[in-house]
Amino acid sequence: MVALSFLIWLPLLLGVCAWISEKKFKGSGNWITLISLFGMLIFSIYLGSHGTSSLSWEWFARFNIHFALLFDGLALLLVVLTIALAMLAVMVSWNDIEKHRGFFHFNLMFSVAGIVGVFLAADLFLFFLFWEVMLLPMTALILIWGHEGRRYAALKFFIFTQVSSLLMLVAIIALALFHQSQTGELSFNLGQLQQLVIPENMQYWLMLGFFIAFAVKLPMVPLHSWLPDAHTQAPTAGSVLLAGILLKTGAYGLIRIVLPLFPSATMEFAPVAVTLGVISIIYGAVMAYSQTDFKRLVAYSSISHMGFVLLALFSWHEVALQGAILTIVAHGISSAALFSMAGLIQHRIHSRELGKMGGMWASAPKMATVTLIFVMAGIGMPGMANFNGELLTLLGSYQQFPVQTIVASLGIVLSAVYGLHLFQRAFQGPPNVDVVDLHMRELVFTSLLVVALIYFGLQPHIVLELSSETITSLLQIAGEARP
């Protein structure tokens, strides 16, 4: 279906439009970006309503590389999440961006194109291309519109992800060459590569190549050190996209590539990965507690939450996999929500230091209420989206890795500690600063976020139905590979 490729080049085109028009008419870029994102949201849901669709064009015949896209339930879910969070990013930085506004919108749309490309790619070469390309606009967002330490943070972010993806490139090429040695033809197609029977030893090395690239993005301790810097220094829109979606590309890569292509190696590696996931959960939570910077705290809490995803995915259990996908969606929304609150506060008091906040409930009750809801979602209060994800993760993983899961469940307790600590220092206590309460525009998008968190908390089956196909096929592969 040709229309599928629109999802990738349309944002690029519209980004250029927003750039040009912002130069001519100041302020128009916001509207163009927002409306085109909304159009794309409708368009992707329309495409998704036709069921799974795919596309394959000849691209680089010398290496049998195709421009192949696949749009199934899981991809639809993440594409919709991407576009929705990009809209949030536009709305949250409506008046925030002071210089080079046109170029900002272009970069925002460019990163949407790259991220959507990652979610759609069905050819590993194409996947790698998008994987790298989405870094460029994101680095630009951090570098140009970021806060005081932006240069260092952008450099670190770029180099960490880029270097790890070089390993993935080697693994991709080695995989394609192995396909050639087996069938006589090079292939980068995910579907075809899944048919291969790869010897154990080789599977392990290839899996590691991919795993490291994805673990850096996820991020997993000890490959996480880029994340606190990048998230803290990025402008609010950048943090929203980074935490909301970019981290999810790592999880998505694990679901789409690592698990189905290398089932037995993954199972062999699972104890290590799960342990690292648990370490991430605890480490992220402890570090989050000790932060005094609002954004840095949320950044560390992301590490903790993404540890649950890692734990769930490598447990290879139906319930856990469902939990992983729920967590991906829930954390996407809740962390983006918290980062936008951080952005709103920073816009008002020009600081992210919790020490400079305090007692803001008095002057900004609406803001305090909304933040409280987001914090509650983050610590997994029942009725909100995150609770389902984490509960299912723990339930499923317990069957495979009981010890690790018990330790991981401590993470939930710790998340309540740092979450409430955050709220208490920022909004309660004696009033420290006077802030303006939420405006209409801010109220609109924050309440939409609240609705989304509660909706997915009460109706998780929508997410589960969309991803059921992927999970079933994963379980089938697992069934065959398990001794």
Binding site: E132, V163, I173
Partner: protein, 477 residues
Amino acid sequence: MSMQELWLLLPVLIISAGILAVMIQASYKRSHFIAQGICLITLLLALAALIYQYPNDVKTITILFEYEPIGGFFSLLLLLVGISVALLQGPYMGANCKEVAEEFYLLLLLSCLGAMLLVMSRHVGSVILSVELMSLSMLAILAYNRERKLALEGAMKYLLLSGAATSLLLIGFALLYASSGQMILVDMLQSPMGLMAKSGFVLVLAGLAFKLSLVPLHFWTPDVYQGAPVNSTLLLTSLSKAAVFALFIKLVLLVPADFEADMVRMLSWMAIASMLLGNWLALQQQSLKRLMAYSAIAHMGYVLVAGVIAMGIDHSLVLEGASYYLLAYLVASILIFAVLTLLSRLDDQQDVDELPQLQGLFWQHPWLASIMTIAFLSLAGMPITIGFIGKFYLLTLAIKLSEWWLVAAMLVGSAVGLYYYLRVIFTLFAPAQSDIPQAAGAYVTKIWIGLIAASLLLLGIFPGLLGDQLRTILAIG
């Protein structure tokens, strides 16, 4: 020599005629504009002639030269470089330049002639003659601004060391001749090799490695690059590298089987050392020219990977990979130096090449800065640029033959390289400090640079455009 052989030499003959025309013109009436015009027309005609009678198999022209597809492809690249340099010299000299203008074009055509002949050589005599023709005219170009002390110093270093390298080449060929009694390259290397012949071959390769600035024969590169006027640096980094590499790979493909293992070992170490050392030393450079010099060392290391594997098995992919990578390297180098040239003046004591001088370029000259950015991204091997496709070819080759040491060095090199390329790009996007003047007008030049930049992206986004055809173009497999 038959009429048909003369016909095959047409591109070379056109350039020779152009050289005479520029000479006569300069003695008759000095005019920068006319000289540039003649030079450009000559190069374009030569390009047209080359494309018109593009070789699809090997044809020998006397005992000195041969006309074959790989050489044809490299000649295309050489002419591309020549045209770019000729176009850039106009805005670089500006309207009221103190230096004379016409001789530059004369020297440019001479070095193009040398490079094209080198690519076509099949005989020791023609190799030596064309290498010297290229190097000596390059030498004068390097010292083209006599007022610049650094340029003179650099040219002097180049003269001495290049002379030493040529003597290595000569003594190497002499040893090979002594043991084989042959002067034609193919025959020379196909006769059985004793210790003397082997050491002769190593000396020949060392001479060529000097021109390619491969570690450990790289020491001249940064000083010469930094001293020379920036447009001349462009010529040095692209023209001589491409031409010499064509000969290098030709020789390497001829290595007899019993000598292969030793050669692989030697060349592997040179490649690994070049990749690592080049990238490592580029890390802290403040001068873009020096940075490009070290990056050239590293990139020649990458192409050498193809050379090393050339002695392995898969010949067709090797030549494709090397050609594609070299094309990518040339395109990126042309673009980077072109931007620097457009920002600098030949009359000044220094070119614009310190990093702080370029700070905030994007906000003042977005097009120039964008071109420089994509060129650096291409050198760093980011996807959607041609550089990624080049890297992809080489990685595929290295992995296919399980040369894990080379793969590891390539990865480490790329990772380190990323840092300093990114540093430059970040500088371009930093808040502007001062006004950076650029050459006014020069629309033809800018359009040409724009076209090259567009092709860098086009070939990166649609690698099939060239990649699928490369086998036919190079007539292999």
